[in-house]
């Protein structure tokens, strides 16, 4: 069965702002307007972020289409159910949302599903940073096992919140102002620069079968999610077995081999552990030269939204004829792109990878159309 990505909307920003009034000052990629009036308790920042991709015209169009339709909310991790304000920090990110029920993922998902005309199934997923790619496996299942005609995926994560900035800053998982002052810039698979800033991001993607697909942007060829026995709390092994298992599963479900992949959208956080794990995995998966890029250095780490959002951004870039290089690399090699690469035509196969805390590894394969 052929599954097509027929439409999508994305929200992310390359713009950054240095947040000074937090325990671990750091630069973030965010939309300040999502927090406008949040302190009144009447506005919920994640919902304002989602509004950026909930295109009323697209949703109205979707409601008009017939066919068995499911909705999936891939919301990453922590911000729902009001946990965002439990740090004791008092700054512009502090607020206390008055409608707790609406901050519950399933309640919110049900409302958005209604807006999309998705009446047949509502699913939520919170597989941390793997969430939006992890649900690609569910998308395929819904089409292939349960006869759905359309699956709409909304993914979002407002990672620019006090608990996330504190947790990541404290654990040195993201870049902080101190590191920036020492000249470290966001990058991946590099000997000098490394890491990421945290970002807000969202994407709305529509998948349809051949009966309903029109003007398709890409084809979803395969997807798989795996776990592995981990050696640290985050769940990343040095030998990258989680990534390997996920990619192998995706290739198997796509019924292609790694030699059919033209470009890899890496998880690419640029942390020491991910560099080691993902690079080791790619070397095992490919047995040959391949091209790889990362988006987290451009738009920040949008956590649960990152896998699908970054894939959509890559599809946009490839439609414009480029595979973007990874920013701030100080070394050049033939695998991890340091500069933009000109690419023409369609029919290229993309392997997208994501890893989530809690030992979740996801891979999905898309073909450009």
């Amino acid at each position: 069965m052929n599954i097509y990505l027929t439409d999508y909307r994305t929200a992310s920003t390359t713009q950054t702002e240095m947040m000074e009034d937090i325990p671990y000052p750091q630069r973030v990629h965010w939309f300040a307007d999502t927090y406008k009036n949040a302190q009144s308790g009447l506005v919920y920042a994640p919902h304002k972020l989602a509004d950026k991709v909930l295109d009323p015209e697209l949703l109205a169009d979707l409601r008009e289409r017939d066919g068995k339709t499911a909705f999936i909310l891939a919301s990453g991790n922590a911000h729902f159910a009001g946990v965002h304000n439990k740090t004791g920090i008092d700054n512009k990110l502090t607020y206390d949302y008055k409608f707790l029920a609406l901050s519950l993922t399933q309640v919110y998902a049900g409302r958005i599903a209604q807006m999309c005309g998705a009446r047949d199934m509502v699913i939520t997923d919170a597989s941390a940073c793997a969430s939006s790619l992890k649900v690609m496996m569910n998308v395929r299942e819904l089409f292939m096992l349960y006869g759905f005609d359309r699956v709409i995926v909304l993914t979002l994560e407002d990672a620019v919140s006090n608990p996330v900035l504190k947790f990541f800053g404290e654990s040195k998982a993201c870049l902080t102002k101190d590191q920036e002052d020492q000249g470290i810039l966001p990058s991946a698979f590099d000997d000098h620069n490394f890491g990421f800033n945290i970002g807000q991001g969202a994407a709305l993607a529509v998948f349809e079968n051949a009966k309903y697909a029109r003007n398709s942007k890409a084809q979803l060829l395969g997807a798989y999610t795996a776990a592995e026995e981990s050696t640290n709390a985050i769940g990343q092994r040095e030998d990258g077995q989680g990534f390997v298992r996920a990619a192998a599963g995706a290739l198997q479900t796509a019924n292609i081999s790694s030699s059919d992949i033209q470009v890899v959208k890496t998880h690419g956080t640029g942390t020491k552990s991910n560099n080691q794990s993902e690079k080791a995995a790619l070397q095992q998966i490919f047995h040959r030269e391949f091209l790889a890029t990362s988006y987290k250095q451009r738009i920040g780490h949008t956590m649960g939204a990152s896998g699908l959002l970054e894939t959509c951004l890559l599809l946009d870039d490839m439609r414009n004829g480029i595979i973007p290089g990874i920013p701030n690399r100080t070394r050049r090699d033939e695998v991890f792109l340091s500069n933009d690469l000109i690419i023409g035509g369609t029919g290229h196969n993309i392997l997208s990878l994501a890893a989530g805390m809690g030992n979740v590894y996801s891979a999905a394969i898309f073909r450009t159309l």
Binding site: K36, S40, L42, L59, A60, R111, M115
Partner: protein, 93 residues
Amino acid sequence: MDKLELFNSLIPIVIPVNSMGATATSLDQPLAETGLDSLDLLMIGIYLSDIYGVEEEVAKVMQPVTVADMFVFMEVHKTKEPTNIQEALESVK
């Protein structure tokens, strides 16, 4: 200030994509017939409470049947009153 217009102006804030075409046609209309669900109505009640300066604890006892009932409750318990709809909406957007 046109209370019906204020009520209807809050709907797109509460539900940015109004797929059901929810709207109030008169102040006497039962809320159940506006197309708004219970969560939408809860949010509109709290938004109105904010606009009229009604304490959250006080607002919780409101049990309106019609659109007008919400505004009667606000009139009784208000601590402030917006001068126009634009000012009212600005505080809750």
